[in-house]
């Protein structure tokens, strides 16, 4: 909401200066967003009239003007403006005036003396840019200082209004709040009495019985619509950010700004009648005032003429019935439409108008008659014409009632705010806000004015008191809480600060991606989950909720490779989404942790050879996560690896018998789609299935030395390490404490199709020192079992 300070001050008398006013506005919740200043021009700038105009003797673009400056005096001024013409009244800066361009001096322009400057709006600092002289009204008093004529200096104040404060979308509404905040005096405004000079009316029918509507209409005949709007109206509209259009439109806008009632004017000779208000029928078309054609759907109110739509009710009128310079008879409309009937409708048609903005938030239902009287008065004064009677229809399904009387308890006020405010002050604040206040034993019974339909209950009144009293006047206190807070729970892995720290220590960088993905991109991954689509995405690239963190991470890998990254290690924790398998209607979301690696395994360094990252680098990270969680993960090759993964280099991650994720190389076809040439490896974990285990009782290390024995075996290449390890653990007996695979070899010296594993056994007993016999027995048993179950051939067995 943008308004001018002078206009506001015309309605309220306060002690605060400009800065004080701005501070009070923000302090009462009308946050000042921006202030624009229109400076005073000074007494040397006056209203002048061009009497005579002649060509400049030498410069063809310049003209010599004789201008009247009042009291019979004239000046000769040289101007280059195209719109200079005899009879025109313009601002004239005399010698000594200070304009945006500098001090005005008496000087010769191309050898012709000029005793002043005829001014454009930009010269006067009213606008940053403008072309041509500022044209004043024909009745502008010649000789009057321009500051007096245009009301300068002035300030345009833009406030950010919260949606509950529809009452402040007008000068009158603001003035009332400011009066309360500054303990100032609100100037009373009487509703003008309009003489009724004819009895014609247009019939109006309300055809939406379930919607609260109040409709006021009046026919004014014989107006001079082509007259120019007075400068004071034009200037105020401009300063409030509204471009003047034409007299009748400007008057309706002016009334809206001053009292808050959106109005519309139709050219009555173009109406057939009767008028109506009804729901639009799908497919109906309307040529809007902004010269755009719209096709209507249902659920939007239209004003009709002989059943033909002539306005989107409360939003915008149509083109065909608009008022023009040729208009002679005007039908003025001032209505109340229930906010629910207007909310969201303008946006549906790509519109946002001053009217819809106000109706959506709510307009005082008592306002239409007042606004109609005020607008008629202005119209008759400026454009002439004869007014007919006001037709008023009120349809009250949900009653357009006054706000209810509310009980305000003094002790509730004190306990909620934490301070005691003197009862007289509370009462004064409420009265200043236009409320009717009746003191009671418990406090007050308060009836808000009709414009404050946002005030429903006691808490609203308490906020009003606190707001005007001043939030900054309320002291601070330290919270005293009763009872105990909830016990601290084990954080979820996804929220766990420590797991992030762990990954950071392992050289991972944390990423955060949008939760939305490109549908086309997503199809390249072949996830088997039904994705969740947005009904109203910002764009096709952001249309699907991610079913996995991997697409986001891979896109970042691609971008960072393009930025010359040589080693990429990214992770992300976040929610992923899919439609539930059981109930296709219900979107399901789970926490996921994902990591992706690409490029060098270790940073380029003098003391270590560089190599490309591989599956086992990432598996080491996975195992470190498992260790961090106090869990053991097992990785199983899957017969049905996901389509995004390399079929031979991918494993299902299992934790406590449940599949909780995947680890593997990304499929070369997928990488090609992302234009990535380096092998890339990724893992995902469903973190809800991987709770961090609290540590069990700590164990005391054995006092006795461990014994290590190494064996080397040959097995078939199809034999999986996990199977060998399982066999060993099954048969080795209780002495086996650790198993270390310290070499895996196939190549020269090993028959093709075979692979050699070198395995270290760490044996221990917590109660005694082991003897050779113990070790021998364990190892022999293992070797026999490996031979039997896996066809293992022993290559060597060495004590360490």
């Amino acid at each position: 909401m943008k308004f001018t300070e002078n206009w506001l001050r015309q309605h309220v008398s306060i002690a605060e200066d400009h800065q004080g006013l701005l501070a009070r506005l923000t302090a009462i919740g009308l946050e000042v967003e921006d202030v624009q200043h229109w400076p005073a021009c000074g007494p040397q700038v006056i209203v002048a009239q061009i009497i005579r105009q002649t060509a400049h003797p030498t410069a063809s673009r310049l003209r010599l003007c004789q201008v009247a400056i009042g009291q019979g005096k004239t000046l000769q001024v040289v101007t280059g403006a195209d719109n200079a013409r005899p009879g025109l009244r313009v601002p004239c800066a005399q010698v000594g005036a200070r304009l945006a361009s500098g001090l005005v001096q008496s000087r010769a322009i191309k050898e012709v003396p000029s005793a002043g400057v005829l001014c454009s709006r930009a010269d006067l600092g009213l606008e940053p840019h403008s072309s041509g002289l500022m044209e004043l009204a024909d009745d502008a008093p010649v000789g009057q200082p321009l500051d007096d004529y245009l009301g300068l200096p002035d300030a345009g104040i833009t406030i950010s209004l919260t949606p509950n404060r529809a009452d402040c979308l007008s000068i009158r509404g603001l003035a009332s709040d400011v009066a309360a905040a500054c303990q100032g005096q609100l100037r009373p405004v009487a509703v003008p009495t309009v003489p009724i000079r004819h009895s014609d009316q247009l019939a109006v029918q309300l055809q939406v019985p379930d919607t609260a509507i109040r409709y006021c209409g009046r026919l004014v005949v014989g107006v001079c619509a082509q007259r120019r709007s007075p400068d004071w109206i034009q200037e105020r509209l401009r300063r409030c950010g509204i471009a003047p259009v034409s007299l009748i439109v400007d008057i309706t806008q002016y009334v809206m700004l001053e009292v808050g009632q959106p109005m519309h004017a139709y050219d009555a000779r173009l109406l057939q009648g009767p008028l109506g208000v009804r729901q639009a029928r799908p497919g109906e078309r309307l040529h809007l005032l902004n010269d755009r054609q719209v096709t209507l759907a249902d659920q939007v109110l239209v004003v009709t003429d002989a059943d033909r739509p002539i306005a989107l009710a409360g939003i915008m009128g149509d083109w065909t019935t608009r008022v023009t310079a040729a208009t002679q008879d005007v039908f003025l409309e001032a209505a109340y439409f229930a906010p629910t009937a207007i909310a969201g409708r303008a946006r549906r048609y790509g519109l946002q108008t001053d009217a819809s903005y106000r109706f959506e938030r709510g307009v005082d239902p008592q306002l239409p008659q007042q606004a109609m009287a005020y607008a008629t008065q202005l119209l008759l004064e400026i454009a002439g014409g004869k007014a007919g009677p006001v037709l008023e229809l009120t349809q009250i399904k949900q009653p357009i009632a006054l706000p209810p009387a509310i009980r305000l308890r003094a002790d509730r006020l004190t306990s909620l705010l934490g301070i005691a405010i003197a009862p007289e002050r509370v009462q004064r604040i409420l009265v200043d806000l236009g409320m009717r206040v009746q003191p009671q034993d418990f406090g007050w019974v308060v009836t808000p004015p009709s414009r404050r339909f946002d005030v429903h209950g006691e808490e609203d009144l308490i906020e009003e008191v606190a707001r005007i009293w001043g939030y900054d006047q309320i002291p601070l206190s330290t919270v005293r809480v009763s009872g105990r807070g909830a016990a601290c729970e084990q954080p979820r892995l996804g929220d766990d600060v420590l797991i992030r720290q762990h990954l950071v220590s392992r050289q991972f960088q944390e990423c955060i991606h949008y939760s939305f993905l490109d549908k086309a991109r997503l199809s390249q991954w072949g996830f088997d989950l039904a994705p969740v689509h947005l009904v109203n995405p910002l764009s096709a690239e952001l249309a699907v909720m991610r079913p996995s963190l991997l697409p986001g991470l891979l896109a970042s890998v691609q971008q960072n490779l393009a930025r010359q990254a040589e080693q990429i290690r990214f992770f992300e924790c976040g929610r992923v989404f899919c439609l539930s398998a059981e109930d296709a209607q219900r979107p399901r979301e789970t926490e996921q942790l994902a990591a992706i690696v690409c490029g060098n395994a270790v940073a380029l360094q003098w003391g270590e050879p560089t190599r490309s990252v591989d599956f086992f680098d990432l598996k080491g990270d996975l195992e470190s996560i498992a260790a961090f969680c106090g869990q053991a993960f097992s990785c199983r090759a899957s017969a049905t690896p996901p389509p995004w993964a390399h079929p031979r280099c991918t494993a299902q991650i299992q934790c406590e018998g449940r599949t909780c994720g995947w680890i593997g190389q990304l499929h070369p076809s997928l990488l090609a789609a992302y234009d990535i040439r380096l092998p890339t490896f990724a893992l995902t974990l469903q973190t809800e299935l991987v709770m961090r285990q609290p540590m069990k009782a700590a164990q005391t290390p054995s006092r006795f030395p461990v014994v290590r024995r190494d064996i080397s075996i040959l097995v078939s290449q199809t034999c999986r390490w996990e199977a060998i390890a399982r066999t060993i653990w099954q048969v080795a007996g209780p002495l086996l404490a650790e198993l270390k695979l310290f070499d895996r070899y196939c190549g020269p010296g090993v028959q093709s199709g075979q692979v050699s594993f070198a395995i270290g056994f760490i044996l221990k007993d917590n109660t005694r020192t082991l003897i050779d016999q113990d070790v021998e027995q364990a190892v022999t048993t293992v070797i026999a079992a490996l031979a039997q179950e896996h066809g293992a051939v022993i290559r060597s067995s060495t004590p360490q």
């Binding site: 923000t26 919740g29 949606p163 509950n164 404060r165 629910t340 909310a343 969201g344 946006r347 306990s415 909620l416 705010l417 934490g418 301070i419 808490e459 308490i462 906020e463 939030y471 309320i474 601070l476 206190s477 330290t478 919270v479 005293r480 809480v481 009763s482 009872g483 807070g485 909830a486 729970e489 979820r492 929220d495 600060v497 992030r500 950071v504 392992r506 960088q509 944390e510 955060i512 991606h513 939760s515 969740v532 947005l534 009904v535 109203n536 910002l538 909720m545 971008q559 960072n560 990429i568 290690r569 990214f570 992770f571 976040g574 929610r575 209607q585 979107p587 940073a603 003391g607 270590e608």
Partner: protein, 354 residues
């Protein structure tokens, strides 16, 4: 020179040459020579040779000691004392020389092990946490310290939890401030974390102190708006909670977060689920040196309608609630100027946040 001496001792004074009378003849001068030879032994090997010759199983001093028994008892004692003393001296001298030689050898080895300590170390790289995470962690840490515990809610929320229960009836104008992404008829992407308040209050009786953090969504994208951003929300419900507590608590949160005392102001505002409502501004130093008011959070006293929706008696309990935008705070704390940097995931940008 020492080698020659050693040689002379070795061959000149062998045990065989000695008669029984000579037993005591191990002379002081020979002893002095021996000590000199030990002190000058060039290597551990030479020293060992001296030890074997004189103190070994068949060494000369050992041999003389063995022959003491042949002496008359009177002499035996004095000769024995002398020989033992000489033997102890020689033994000590050898040990000392041995230590010296070991030290020399160690010094020599160390001298050869010169390392260029200015070379870079191995595996020095560490990763980085996202600045959003760092900011969230900082706030959750502060709130935990104030007795708040974490609560969670879904990001795909239903209309009732996101709006209705929070006192946003259908068509409420405040809904237009929440440009909402819809998933289907009943579901939407949560526009704020406030829905978690409702979920928490449905399952917990006062006193309640909880926070909820996470991603929220609004269909708005430009220089200063991201369609996805992060919030943290706090809720405290108890008897005797007032607006003064809200001010005190939030001043503490802000001062802890910025680790400094900043001018702050509470400004009336509007949220359907709190009343009175406020926004809090801090006076923040701009690049041009000027301090300007900058909004950092929204807050208020829980609206009685919210309590009604979750079955809490608003006559008995009051609540305070507040919500902070993480991106804004992260931008202030780290001097980040472009909102888009958060979701760009440029490794060079991320690297700064350890």
């Amino acid at each position: 020179m020492t080698a020659i001496l050693a040689g002379r001792f070795a061959c000149g004074l062998s045990a065989q040459e000695r008669s029984g009378d000579d037993v005591t003849q191990y002379r002081q001068s020979e002893h002095s020579n021996l000590l000199v030879a030990i002190a000058q032994a060039p290597t551990l090997e030479a020293l060992e040779a001296l030890r074997v010759t004189w103190l070994g199983k068949h060494g000369q001093i050992t041999a003389q000691l063995k022959q003491l028994g042949l002496l008359p008892p009177a002499e035996r004692k004095s000769q024995g004392q002398t020989l033992n003393r000489l033997r102890d001296e020689a033994t000590a001298a050898i040990a000392s020389r041995k230590q010296d030689l070991a030290q020399v050898a160690l010094d020599h080895r160390l001298a050869s092990e010169q390392v260029d300590v200015t070379l870079p170390g191995r595996r020095a790289e560490i990763g980085s946490k996202h600045p959003i995470s760092l900011t969230l962690e900082r706030l959750t840490h502060i709130l935990s310290g104030l007795g708040f515990t974490a609560a969670h809610g879904p990001e795909i929320e239903d209309d009732w939890h996101n709006f209705e229960a929070l006192n946003f009836p259908p068509h409420h104008p405040a809904r237009t401030m929440h440009d909402t992404f819809y998933v289907d008829q009943g579901h939407l992407l949560r526009t704020h974390t406030s829905g978690v308040q409702i979920r928490h209050l449905q399952n917990h009786q006062p006193p309640v102190r909880m926070y909820a953090a996470g991603k929220v969504y609004r269909s708005d994208a430009d220089q200063t708006h991201s369609p996805m951003f992060h919030q943290i929300e706090g809720l405290l419900v108890d008897e005797h909670i007032s607006f003064t507590d809200l001010k005190g608590l939030l001043l503490s949160v802000i001062e802890q977060f910025f680790a400094t005392s900043l001018p702050i102001r509470f400004r009336p505002s509007y949220f359907p689920f709190t009343e009175p409502s406020a926004e809090v501004d801090i006076a923040w130093q701009q690049p041009d040196g000027q301090r300007r008011w900058l909004e950092v959070l929204g807050c208020g006293m829980v609206h009685p309608h919210v309590f009604h929706h979750v079955g809490i008696d608003p006559e008995r309990y009051n609540g305070l609630a507040f919500g902070l935008g993480i991106e804004r705070l992260a931008m202030l704390r780290y001097g980040i100027v472009d909102l888009r940097a958060f979701y760009d995931n440029d490794a060079r940008f991320l690297r700064q946040f350890v």
